[in-house]
Amino acid sequence: MHIMEGYLDPMWCVVWFVVMAPFFIFGVIKLRKILAEHPEQKMVVALSGAFIFLLSSLKLPSVTGSCSHPTGTGIAVVFYGVGVCAVLSTIVLLFQALLLAHGGFTTLGANCVSMGIIGPLIGLIFWKILRGANAPVFVSMFVAAFFADLMTYVVTAFQMSLNLMTSVGADFMDALVEMLSIYAVTQIPLAIVEGIVLGMFAHYLATSRADIFEIADNNKLNPFSTEA
């Protein structure tokens, strides 16, 4: 879902940074609070970041004959909410922009909005609904991670299409259909793989560290809540 350096007009780069900013700022505040008041959760914060590192580096083949990578944001958003997820995703995006020239600095805002904010927010909504309905941990995490992953790429398709509409005057719907066919269709099997992997890990956590799940149950849907 990485939009490469130079592929969004400066106007859109600014727009997406502005959208990203409040989530990021609240994420930093919440993260500092978690680390100060609940030092025992440091390991779990590191763990949720580690999944983003690991899964977003794995390029997997897909049914469209091209490769893409999962996002790994499911664990972070379910335990710590959208703000913290945005901060952790930004670290990974910076790592990739700096060392791999994968993604970019000007497109960092747009990539963070898709991978760290909107995608995970939709995943978190599904998690809350399913947990509220007493669905098993594996199933809830599978669905949450699936949608966090898939919606990330849907948002990317939107961002690319909006940019094409304003820059070269492309028809928005035509561009969207093409971008969705590139990003979203490729992503469906990967989102399933990601759902299974994170679902298994959530099941492992639930059976071996039930205490950790209290964090997830107290976690708020509201991205601007700093309650740790």
């Binding site: 939009i3 490469m4 390029k59 893409s68 560290r209």
Partner: protein, 101 residues
């Protein structure tokens, strides 16, 4: 516990079958979708206004080096996850249960 093991075995089996199945049965050159998105934008007439900094300073990163750096990224994640699982299992042995600290 046997039930738990089944979940993990089945989970990894499904993932492996999906990945291998796609590679075997789907024709394609398996390039990156991130690149295809950019290419589609260029086909629509978009001219990128900036190249990434490594391209500008060094030139295109060789494929081998790129995969090295991606492996490094995966390694960082995997080490932390492995540490957590190991610490968790050591604690379980020490306390005889998986109760909170």
């Amino acid at each position: 516990m046997a039930n738990d093991k089944m979940i993990y075995i089945l989970g990894f089996a499904v993932v492996a079958i999906m990945v291998v199945g796609i590679l075997v049965f789907v024709p394609g050159d398996f390039g990156g979708s991130d690149d295809s998105g950019g290419e589609a934008a260029e086909e629509a007439g978009y001219v990128p206004w900036l190249t990434d900094w490594i391209d500008a300073v060094y030139g295109e990163l060789p494929g081998e080096i790129e995969s090295l750096l991606f492996a490094l990224q995966a390694g960082i994640g995997a080490v932390i996850i492995g540490y957590f699982i190991g610490a968790n299992s050591a604690r379980k042995k020490a306390t005889g249960s998986a109760m909170p600290q």
